[in-house]
Assembly symmetry: C2
Homo-oligomer: 567 residues x 2
């Protein structure tokens, strides 16, 4: 029987260490091995040990390297749209006139800039590769406006690019589209400490914004594993969900204003900093989640909450998915307003992290499921009391088999890496087929089981993590599930030794059909990009798709914005 003494608290913690150091409840035992494991962590190619801040480099460090297949080869059915012009030296001259000729224009048209341009052509997953020969890096909205207007007039296709961490191939060209990178539009414009409203350029890196806020007692309402690289503008463009959605809600609610540029150069000035502003249609909402298909987001105003003074993180092992579901119910009810994350990881995903980071799991033994629970609040003592009561309850009811609680900021980071390190660890292997779906909670994990069974049946699965070399017979190394359980959002990841058409056929449309049957969404938070363009019908009716096409045509009649993708 799970007993309370089996709960190993590493300790109560505060992300802002100055505040709320709470005396440890005497009857909870600190287990040394768990603390030790925090120290053992090392990077193993992964950028997981950046001290203090969780970080992801935008140029992925990979053990398994190798060239990425051109998207045009991987998707032979997608043909270049010949309505689009090809970039000429005259075009380049125009852009240099707008941007200056320094590093703002990476010009592979009139010179050899292949190396400079390569990272802009390749996506984070190393699954998609475009053939752009021109990258533009404006610094002002006016420059963006002049660029887009020119491209629209000349029918030059454009791909807006933020931090290039997108997981659906949306941020890189398919053919020779011009890359419009927002990376140099990265100023924080203003912050109001009373209202909590932050205004900034679209190219500000999420983690930079959050650290800026941390120094001012506030927190960015969004948090992703990719925070060290992704842009706040890219987050809006993808309507990113992430780790704090459960607590702070989605971007449709927290974004107060945007500035954006339409293909014809029109600047959409909706940079309101008001919490309430009911004066006409809320057009900014269309840009949130539009994945760069109707315009370029150039500025963002967002409502930021007070930074919680105390953050507690617990990490559990559980016997079954049903137990995780029960734990979630209890957490929602008992932790209520201080619950800030409830993340699910299956046992396999934790083995993968352990294997590729070399870290020791803080819990003894193998558990079929793991859950990370985070609370954030203004009073550490109160929060800890609530968490403790919750832990006692779920241990007492044998919902949870084993668990640890972080004792300080470092341990908070350590525990989070068992969740946030999953995508990075999986990416070490070779290729990952990623499915980011919403499914009604009861059936959420069944998709992983059914997919695994399918891979086994097809004889494609060989689960030896030490064997990462290409293996023609058994391309699949692991079928894992993890995700934001609090939002019914599962990440099904099929990790392969190398991208393989047989695997893709095994998975698609199988996964989409499976999700459609449960009235789920084929894209919970990552978006459509090129990866899911053809599958939108599994989540949306023809009527809806037609209405969406109307919007696309309204704003981008020439179709120059991020073509071959989305709808």
């Amino acid at each position: 029987m799970a007993s309370r003494s089996r709960l190993m608290p590493i300790v109560q913690s505060a992300r802002r260490p100055a505040v709320q150091h709470i005396p440890r409840p005497v009857n909870l035992k600190v287990v040394a091995s768990a603390v030790a494991s925090a120290r053992q962590e090392n990077s193993h190619c992964l950028n997981l040990t950046q001290s203090g801040a969780r970080h992801l480099s935008s140029t992925p460090v990979r053990c398994a390297a190798g060239a990425i297949k051109l998207t045009s080869e991987a998707y032979p059915n997608v043909k270049r749209d010949e309505r689009f012009a090809r970039v000429t030296p005259e075009d380049v001259a125009f852009f240099k006139g707008v941007l200056g000729s320094g590093s703002a224009v990476l010009d592979g048209v009139t010179s050899d800039a292949a190396d400079d341009i390569a990272p802009f052509n390749e996506d984070w997953m190393r699954k998609y590769r475009g053939q752009s020969r021109l990258v533009l890096r404006p610094q002002t909205t006016d420059q963006v406006s002049r660029i887009l207007k020119y491209c629209n007039d000349k029918k030059l296709a454009v791909v807006p690019q933020g931090g290039n961490t997108g997981l659906v191939g949306g941020s890189v060209p398919v053919f020779d589209e011009i890359v419009l990178s927002l990376g140099r539009m990265n100023n924080i414009i203003s912050f109001d400490e009373v209202s909590g409203v932050l205004v900034m350029d679209a190219g500000v890196i999420l983690e930079v914004a959050d650290q800026y806020l941390a120094e001012r007692g506030h927190i960015y309402p969004l948090d992703l594993g990719s925070k060290g690289s992704c842009h706040v503008g890219g987050n809006l463009a993808t309507n990113a969900g992430g780790l704090r959605l459960l607590r702070y809600g989605n971007l449709h609610g927290t974004v107060l204003g945007i500035e954006a540029v339409l293909p014809d150069g029109t600047v959409v000035d909706e940079l309101s900093t008001l919490r309430k502003n009911n004066t006409g249609y809320d057009l900014k909402q269309l840009f949130i989640g539009a994945e760069g298909t109707i315009g370029v987001i150039t500025k963002v105003a967002i409502q930021c909450p007070q930074r919680p003074k105390a953050v507690n993180v617990a990490y559990f092992g559980l016997e079954s998915f049903e137990h995780a579901r029960r734990a979630f119910r209890e957490a929602k009810s008992q932790l209520s307003e201080i619950l800030s994350a409830f993340e699910l990881m299956d046992g396999r995903s934790q083995q993968v992290v352990q294997h590729f980071t070399g870290n020791t799991n803080p819990l003894d033994g193998d558990h079929p499921f793991y859950v990370l629970v985070e609370t954030s609040g203004s009073n550490g003592e109160h929060d800890y009391a609530k968490l403790e009561a919750f832990l006692e309850d779920v241990m007492g009811k044998e919902i949870v088999q084993d668990g640890v609680v972080a004792q300080d900021e470092t341990q908070v980071q350590t525990l989070w890496k068992w969740r946030e390190g999953v995508p990075e660890a999986l990416a070490m292997v070779g290729g990952v087929y990623k499915y980011d779906v919403s499914i009604p909670l009861e059936e959420m994990y069944k998709l992983v089981e059914d997919t695994k069974a399918r891979a086994e049946e097809a004889g494609l699965l060989f689960e030896d993590l030490t064997q990462t070399e290409p293996n023609a017979e058994h391309p699949i190394l692991a079928v894992v599930g993890y995700g934001h359980m609090g939002d019914s959002n599962l990440h099904l990841n099929v990790s392969t030794r190398t991208y393989d058409k047989r695997v893709e056929k095994l998975l698609e449309p199988f996964v989409y059909e499976w999700v459609q049957k449960r009235k789920g969404s084929i894209s919970a938070e990552h978006g459509l990009g090129i990866a899911k363009k053809n599958y939108i019908g599994y989540s949306r009716s023809d009527t809806m798709v037609n209405l969406m096409r109307q919007i696309k045509n309204l704003y981008d009649p020439n179709g120059i914005m991020n073509p071959y993708k989305y709808i």
Copy 2:
């Protein structure tokens, strides 16, 4: 000096009485007069004493009655658009074919139904009166679709009407538009206790939805003084803000799905119940705040939080607006995740409530400003400790002059009436010019002062509450300010003995220019309707208005939806 003993706690309370009864802190004194005042309350024409639930009747009971001027007379510049057809007996026959001939069709075209139709022609403020002769009351989406398609084909103009509590004249016809009332589409369709997602017809009354949720441990994320009458669909159509926005965010964030019908009869099926669904443009957002100008909302899916187990309400008197601002800062920082409302009322507004309800204010003496603070959380003991520490702090720092804390559910209601009773009490007088604006917090109250000074200068103000009879010389009885301070949202109300063009001239465009100068919003939460149609330019650029017109034309090319209003 304000001392801690001057804080008169009526007591800590729980909206759900079964839970969390916390022992009273011994050193806080219960003052009898405050408790007594709760008992003295009586209705005085106002519907303020409904026990248990705060309620507003949809047919306003008024002391000062009298016929409402026709909108067409009050706005002589607005002419009937002759592109629209007039309703014929054949049209009525068609609608009876769709809806049946019972109470679903109030037919003033082929019969005398003036009395039945009157309430649908008149708005809650008794400021706008239309001349419709036909009210349609469908029960299904299919009926709505057939009605709209017919109207669109025949160019018959339509006004969607929810609970008819809107404050900008948007919900009633201007001329002979057909009223499409949602009142009979009022079923709750489903509720998921784990995810908290509620799905219902658009015509469900807000308070009914909230009570349904209360029985299931959840809470509707929106709360308005008009909750007893307004519809959840009307709330979406106006993007209502209200009392809980501070805590639970806005409808753009909390609404997960809608079903709506376009003028051509197309059913927009976006009734997703998923928390995350990034599959294409988020078109539902356009309907939130569209005030019935592009289609009719027929169903709503919304994310509902766990109902707080403990609710505490405190009511303060303060010396100045600056003190209220400081109190807000402290509340935000100290109460953080449990702060659920921070409402401001000026001294005058409380005098008006006192006068028209006959209730005794819970605080001794007159204070220039009053604030209502509400906390909601999962643990009454923790919440009360936080509130107490906050109260001690603001009393100690002399930010607050005097205060009471509610002791039970009844007292929570009693204190809330001092806030929620303001619009109703003002409406007792005669006419109220209502301005609902967002202004940067520092200057929020200055608008009231400047407006009052202007009224005094013009010699139009005579502040004797006992004199409510029309007074040609001094039409203005009171200039008051109150509102959602937590959202920088001020309600400036100018209470007149009778609607008077001189007052309107004094106020408009003065108020709008004033707000524009501070980059505020001329409509924070009430919307544009007919009242603010001509003033949108004060909050939005021509470019934005043109982009909005594009959307209107896209969905409603014949302009039949709620004409003469909005943009």
